[in-house]
Amino acid sequence: WDEPVIFELSQPGERALLLPEVEPAIAATAAAPLPPGMRRAQAPALPQLSQNRVLRHYLRLSQETLGADLNVDIGQGTCTMKYNPKINEQLARDERISQLHPLQDESTVQGMLQVMHEMEHVIEEVSGMDAVSLQPRSGSQAIYANIAMVRAWFEARGEAGQRDEIITTIFSHPSDAACAKVVGYKVITLYPDADGYPDLAAMQAAVGPRTAALVITNPEDTGIFNPRIAQFVQAAHDVGALACYDQANANGLLGITRARDAGFDLCHFNLHKTFATPHACGGPAVGACAVTQALAPFLPHPRIVKDGQRYRLQTDEKTSIGKVAAFMGAASIVLRAYAWVMNLGADGLREVAEVAVLNNNYVMRQLLQIKGLSAPYANGKSRIEQVRYSWRELSEETGVHAEDIGLRAADYGVHYWTSHHPYIVAEPATIEPTEAYSRADLDEFVQIMAHIADEARSTPQTVTSAPHRCPTRRVDTKYLEDPRQWAMTWRAWRRKLAEHGAR
């Protein structure tokens, strides 16, 4: 499709929807006058289209989007692209959840509260922790909530003033560092040791009386599990700090090892990763916070309490950090995750982990046979659920970059992303096969990578000028950086075109 911008399709006068009529008795009622200047003078210049044309537009755009359902989507490493069962989608779109208002009386939402409460128990069981909140609307927001709880904990103990540092590692998710900053902490970042593992000596050197918490992903985004994680936690505890576990990469660990086992005080999971809810172009999502009993009084409110057979909402905990998101968070996402767990059970979750890890190590074995591709750090060791590879050698040999290869892969119906700033691993490509793909799927992906590596040597310009079979060719990126040219909206674009011919 060569589908125009929707404003270009506008046909004056067309309507895609009509509104309910206002009955004469209502129309005849006099309203209080609006404050001066508060009545809009001109209708918004939205496009005017028939319903057929609106639908056609968005259907075409959907077909120009490479959803995980459509491809072997193992290239979005760290994102845990797994199969999002359609039955869960169907259930979550039932009116008996979609038409619930979050302020309904508890007696009218007992089923919903039960789902959420039971999902809290699932997270407790997976993590070994004691109490859970499903309110955060993403993994990052859960990290934020956890760190806000760390702050509240030290405030409650009167230590907030002394403890202003948080320690993390460079291969922990960027949000671990960024959220610490938002909550007011100074961020100390550790780099790998000579063997490629998180550096315990550096940790021990970094902790001290100013340390509020260790905030760490494990396995890190390289797929490497930190074997000394308990010592890292211990080092934090030794100075009176807390330890907070980013479990975004938990997919290979379900039923294998738990946050509690390594001594963590707080952790979080992304239901849209590990628990198979759809990524939805980037949300809605849920980040589940799990904490020990000691931290439970600091969880966001309201919390769900079960009294006998009835569920109710409780908001009277004075030490709670309060709200982190509207109402109870993304309840319909929780329902999907609940259905997924109920389908698999404990054995199934462990099978998820084991097959995800098997798939990852199988792919690693195959991919590393491609000349020019390597897996930096912890050489020769196995990985958990993903691997951050490097095309550095191929790039040095051919001038083709990791990004070019990713775009060329799109021509073959798969893709990977390379936004792994800062580029500690040069020319990165992070592959996370998860449990959702068959051996044939994995082989297909590997073959495409091998083929593109060949192209990089034989016809590098084919790769560097990719994509060739996507809806557009490469964009002129200076329009995305220059304030005189950037245009985040159609109105800005038209204005800039008129002002100085943006192109």
């Binding site: 209502i26 209708a43 005017q48 959907s62 989007t65 959840i97 309060g322 329009y479």
Partner: protein, 463 residues
Amino acid sequence: MHPKTVYPYIPNSVPQVKAAMLAATGARSIDDFYADIPAALRAPRAMNLPAPLLSEARLKRHVQGLLARNRPCSEVLSFLGGGCYQHHVPAICDEINGRSEFLTAYAGEPYEDHGRFQALWEYCSMMGELLHLDVVSIPTYDGLQAAATACCMAARYTGRQRVLLAGNLSPDKCSHIRTYGRSTIVFDSFAFDAVTGSIDQSALAAQLGPDVAAVCIDNPNYFGAIEDGPALARLVHASGALLVVGVDPGSLGVLTAPGDYGADIVCGDIQTLGMHMNYGGGHGGFIATRDEPALVMQYPSRLFGIAPTEVPGQYGFGDVAYQRTSFDKRENGNEFVGTAAALWGITAGVYLASMGPQGMAELGEGILQRVAYARAQIAAIPGVRLAHPGSAHFKEFVVDFNATGRSVATINALLREHAIFGGHDLSGLFPQLGQAGLYAFTELHSQADIDTLVQTLALVTRP
């Protein structure tokens, strides 16, 4: 234990395949891959979870059984609002956000995901028309987060550290703003006028000063009253602060866009633009400003831009000023960014494209009229009063039951017996209002619905 279960979601759970793949890796068992996990860290026991419902049929029946314990608004007459609203969700909104392509896409590049980029950029563009502003962000989590971030943006932009919160903001929103921003911002609040429910301008003026980065209000406010935006903007700007306005985008067919009366940062929630309530799962936040580079550089969220491609006449899309973000700069970026509510942004785009200028105007006007009618009818019930009788309201207003001698809880329980969900009980959140409920009306309410409410209210409040 189902040792031989082949899981439909796990293709390689076929035992023979597992064995063959293990052999290909050279490992003896899957445990080899976990070599880095010390024995002491291994979970001491299998997880204790309910027995699985392995068949889709049994799973569906189980979950539907739980859902049957809910009583959705579609089966009653509901007048709940307070930040989440029951509007009509056009079928094509559900159709588009249910498309596998959009539902399961994520972080692709602007080439293989051209459609995702275009749909989100168009969403921003249509919001820009509704808001009369040139810059709109990709959705954040919800209106609470949009407001919290707007306050932080204002503080960064002005270099000032105090932010004033209106007393008639949603209490939940205040809670989140404070927890989120208080490491760098000092928050103070200012009172609303008890008679009108609107901001007490003198109380605000008394708090303003050169250290104030921003004043954060909602318009319409939490009580549904329409604030005098132009007057507030003049007051705030006189002190050099920014005006941050939270707005219901569904009001903007009839109310002036905040930017047009001087708001510097406009934020709010898009749940009303085509999302089901989903027990609070339908929210997404928007943030919008003028196209001033210094302000744009304060956004933490992604901003998409349009750009020419190598092919003349072709448009493409991409991230604008990515180096602002924590993706690029970790703790040195603005706040943090990640998965939020993109699918709802796409859906809101479908909604706005479907409504068009006239639809949004009719939506706003119709709600204004229904509210006026409902106010007149409710005010006529003996013992029932309007908390803010002189103000103009959009979509919701506070009903004062103090004179009935009944609590809101009692009244709502009685209404439920008539299949009516009464207004949200404000007695805990705003003790100064006594027994008061926040009643919301949308285009879904017919005259007959309002009349039913009025008759039933009269019945259940009768002395």
